[in-house]
Symmetry: D2
Subunit: 427 residues, 4 copies
């Protein structure tokens, strides 16, 4: 199923009067503060966030999964789903594959399909946190860090195979989330686990094409509940330092201990030139994988403030980083959930872009804490929805993606196409 | 020092054109959604949040205090400071006294002064977490829960004396925050501590005038670092149930364990008819006592959503509860900090008031989680600053309290009046 | 497979010399402190902790499950597994069934089997957190709290059916863990969810036999990641108060927010006469369901200190409460893991039993915090393993359950009996 | 006041029979496991933990301080207090000075006094988290990271002065805990703060004598409640990498986010050769500064397991690291509290020393998680108090330091010497 452009245009037409009114007002208001709304809109248009192939089906917990209907049952259908998303919001222009859940048996066909939907292939993801059918050795006790060199070898080879798939598709990065760790004190030797992992990563690193990157993700806990080999950004950075310049740190918002100041971590990693990008989601307790911006929108904004500043400092655009949504949709339609996530990201980005950073620096120089807070809050409290809508509109997307998704009964169509019992691969 | 009304009016005049433009736009937008902006403004005008007498000086931590200048050195000066605040924002119309830091030796004079500034006396607060000079028995090991009945008696009598002061001033509630607890496992017998405390509270309860309430606050930890006698809302409620209908639970936003869902606690207490009110502040780690809304504004909004719904259900207005700011101003001018807090509270309240609760209930009935989230976010993402400003304007306050405070060089004036070395009593 | 007593006796014989030496030393040492080791041993012998039917297979996480081999594939095999455990440690004399995972189609046969293994049937557990095949209505959006009365009715009837199964087996309690809640702000109306749940529970309560109890468990989060209907002990107690004297609060050690003082919660619930019992496990981050005592053994001891004191106060023995292990065995043999859990529980209980509570009360009266801590630590630092072994020995169990389990190659036997691909029902 | 050796000997004599009995039993038991108790005792004797000069008075919180009596009012008296401690436990053979609270005006006299008490001077500590009287520029908004180079310069010079004092006393390290950070989002520029701090540290580093080290401590929060410049071990390590080989990371057990796996941090820092040492204490919520081992003794043991392994790997003894107690004694006699802390440290060390690390490595190689846990627990559950007592006895200390302290009425003597109103400098 594909959304024809005229349907989007028709829908927009009905909303245009109201939108224009709102956008003009926002533009005026921002103009009085010396901010060029059109420039912000252009920057927003350039922002693209990847959709992972495992995020198109209903997620679950260890207590079970309540599947939805009309889920994509194949890689083709997953790419089509991302195509629908991107047609609606024009900001989800790439897909991030997970191997082996979504092995592209016919790479050219996949590229053609993606291209027809204006999609690219983002970082490819390996999986050594599960055993696959017919897998020779088990990852029950680890993969890249395993005490047994044969298991490590198997895991390294899997990663190298993932690179191979990625090369065929035009990806430029391998993303590694390592669930290795331990559930009990004593279970593993921290130092040996680190060194085993380092050796494994070095072998993978050696297999990286010249123009590729490897992203090293960290996570405080889960599915291991006592320790993880790469428990925090400090550990990730240590690995990257030892690996070389092609290794960067990937931040997942849900992978921290309670109350962590993530925006400062982001700033530090950018200062070191070691931020790979983000896995966006939100959480209240742990790695809850909730819709981006649904719990702590102000923190998301603060992160974007650091990102905007860091990009400026590094002279990079948003295309210099890997952005991906990594949420689980336990009680929502996955496509609607993703639209809410993308919107939340763009809103935070817009708020960060309208922040008066010059005044902010002056306030900081003066230790005028009250003013510094006020400047941030002014940006955050501004209704930037018209800017995000304008960006989508300019790029050919919908002024109201979820509204149109529902009007066009897209899920109902997908169900009639695919049936109610398909279950997307993934968690 | 007192702010003359004409100064406020002059200042507003300069801002009025811009404000009217913004308010009219907001009103139109809300009107299209069926919301009466003027009604919201009226409801906002009626909202008054108390300022505690200890919040007018610079706060500190156990590592020290960096005092500001021009702090109020007497109760008279503290009341005058609240008068300044209230003149500027017209939403801080009461002061909450702390005994023995601010004993009103001449109650009538204090009432006259307060009345002249349009202020009332809110709940009075007792203090048994510190030893005062010449105090007979120490609270080092507890007060209302102490193993020694003589210490408990002293603490009970102090609370009864606080009621006496409150009666003279026209207060209608005694607020008890009990720091009692233990620093080490084994130090105290949980059950005896509870029962000692209950007996003490019953004696205090018996001394309450008929039209008074007693507020029982809970706190998870600090200054005791292993246990506290009233550790959570469940403990507070248990005490209140045993005490009787005049005892209600007071919620301080910083007194919870990490990740607590405070809005649900609020809903439950309102359901039980046992919510006394709030001590507003914000925090990232513990009882950080930061400016309201500076860290987790969305959570503050969610709390107000419950408050608005609970008030509706109970047929009560915002004057049926005790609202107070309880923040510490370590690095900000206390008055500016309080203005930021009051503004954040009003913004959250306004956002909750414009929430389309009927649509929300329908979405909930349909388990339309996407729509339910969208409705909340629509309210939160709306720029409600014009509504709050309009409310202040209508009540005779300033369109930009902090701006005017700085324009009028109020702190500089206070410094020249009071000097740089006064230190306000408090923490 | 069943362990013959003579094998246990043979194994013990080899260890007896060493054990006697250790026990005699421990007895002497305790005797000098006025503690009767034999009395402690007797009290330990009387302690029985239930094994849930779902804990005999390998557990998993949302990221996957690494199954072990030789897992029980039927209720009969599960009962046999508990029989093995109980034969080895004589402290696991009951099984707690989970419906519908383990429906006892032939109750009499199950009772006969259990009796032959010296086992009883503990509380029965309902499940409304998953959908079963052919289930009419889904629990995706809740069960007892669901907005739709038809779903609530289905969930109530399921619970009543569970009571029916329990009655056939001789159980005396229904244990309800309700996963109901919400994943996103706005998704549910807290007050209506509470009231719907209360109504549902009242219907279930009405169906309880006179000599039954209903256990109301609370949990802060997971699988719902924004709110849960019964989020903490305060909520559980509120439900129990409204239900009546047959409803008590069940505590699961992993169901709290970070840093919670659980031992104080236990003390408060016992004070109110509302502690149903425990789901034992351990955790570092959330509901990690790790082996009891593997992470925070001192906290477990502190809980037992409260339990021992509360039992004394109430004039009850350990058979007056429901004790159960609720752990997940992701990387260990389930039976070995359960043996480690039972041992940890008994050790903590033994430590609490040798605590000099009279001296402790005197130290508390004197606010001698140093001595109070020392008394607790003295008990905790004492090597009480000989006492636990003596208790097992006296009851006919093994001096070294895991050692014997390995010597007898019990798992290998189970694998050859059951094969490597059976997967036990459960999580 | 000084404790004569004969008093210790007399006291020991009374306890010796019982102790010998216990030690012989422990020795036999360990011997059967192939562990040489005497070797463990010798290793324990060599362990010395520094006492900070600020830990000899009663601590407080931001809510107040309940001073004890007989506190040391001068540096001389503080050194004497450490002398008492060391005489009793022979394991507290050094003192760590804090400047400017304890400026040694006459260094030679201090050295003579210390030498007479068998004490050395450990790392010296700077303080830029408070303003001192007559200080030119304030640290209200930071010190080494301050936006104003003049403030940074003042802070750098203070640190260089501290080194000077340390050189006079024979110290070999400067310990820097930097409270710099921010209380509100926006207040500070993370990157500039980092870089300002780095420059400041580089200047201090340049002033270090060749045989000195600088210890860089991290802390997640407090007294800044939004961000700290050195928030975690990763930040500390980054600074140390940029500074050079004389800079190492100092770990304070209370300076982490909830649930942090500190033992893994320790292992990683030792792997990198960057662990400076420890500030020992314990906590349940935050930086509670409670007695070592009073809350999480098993975690302390796990940390010592890593320390023992790391020392072995590095071929270093315990004298290759800086150990210090950094606790606050709000409700205990400071000297008794310190004795409890030292004892807890030695017990954990002893438990780690008797761990069968060879078997553990084999279990790890076999992924025998059950056995690995059992090995750790065997060590932890062993009563090692006789070993610690034997070590103290051999070194000339007391078999029961707190008992003797009370028998000799040392505090009462100090009170009669010093009076009841002295207040030790510190927090």
């Amino acid at each position: 199923m594909k959304i024809e452009q005229y349907r989007i245009d028709q829908h927009n037409e009905r909303l245009l009067g109201k939108h224009n009114n709102q956008f003009i007002f926002a533009k005026e208001q921002l103009g009085e503060q010396g901010i060029d709304a059109n420039a912000v809109v252009k920057t927003l248009q350039a922002f693209q966030v990847a959709i992972p192939s495992w995020a198109l089906g209903t997620g679950g917990t260890r207590f079970g999964r309540f599947s939805g209907a009309g889920e994509p049952g194949s890689l083709v259908e997953k790419i089509e789903d991302v195509g629908i998303l991107h047609a609606l919001n024009r900001s989800s222009g790439s897909i991030s594959l997970h191997i082996p859940w979504d092995i592209p048996s016919d790479a050219n066909a996949m590229i053609d399909l993606a291209t027809s939907l204006d999609l690219k292939f983002d970082a490819v993801n390996s999986n050594t946190f599960q055993d696959q059918k017919n897998q020779e050795l088990s990852y029950k006790y680890g993969s890249l860090s395993h005490v047994d060199p044969k298991v490590r070898k198997q895991a390294v080879e899997h990663n190298i195979e993932v690179i191979k798939y990625g090369k065929e598709l035009g990806s430029k990065a391998l993303s590694i989330w390592l669930s290795d760790g331990s559930c009990f004190p004593g279970q593993s030797n921290f130092v040996r686990s680190f060194q085993n992992t380092l050796e494994s990563l070095q072998e993978i690193y050696a297999a990286l094409p010249d123009d590729w990157k490897v992203f090293v993700e960290y996570k405080a806990y889960e599915p291991n509940f006592y320790s993880t080999v790469i428990q925090d950004w400090g550990s990730s950075l240590l690995f990257c330092q030892k690996l070389g310049p092609k290794a960067d740190v990937l931040v997942d918002l849900g992978h921290h201990l309670p109350n962590a100041n993530i925006e400062q971590i982001v700033a530090t990693l950018m200062m070191e030139g070691r931020l790979a990008g983000f896995h966006f989601n939100d959480s209240k307790y742990g790695d809850d994988d909730l819709t981006v911006g649904s719990i702590r929108p102000y923190m998301l904004f603060l992160i974007f403030v650091e990102l905007v500043e860091g990009m400026k400092r590094a002279g990079k655009g948003s295309d210099g980083f890997a952005w991906m949504i990594d949420a689980s949709h336990n009680v929502k339609d996955p496509l609607e959930d993703l639209m809410q996530s993308v919107e939340a990201i763009l809103l935070s980005y817009a708020q960060a872009l309208i922040l008066d950073s010059k005044k902010l620096e002056i306030a900081r120089q003066n230790n005028d804490v009250v003013l510094a807070q006020q400047l941030l809050q002014n940006a955050f409290r501004t209704d930037v929805r018209p800017l995000v809508r304008e960006a989508m509109l300019h790029s050919g997307g919908s002024l109201d993606p979820i509204g149109l998704f529902r009007d066009l009964k897209i899920r109902e169509n997908l169900i009639s196409e695919r049936g109610t019992v398909t279950v997307a691969t993934g968690l």
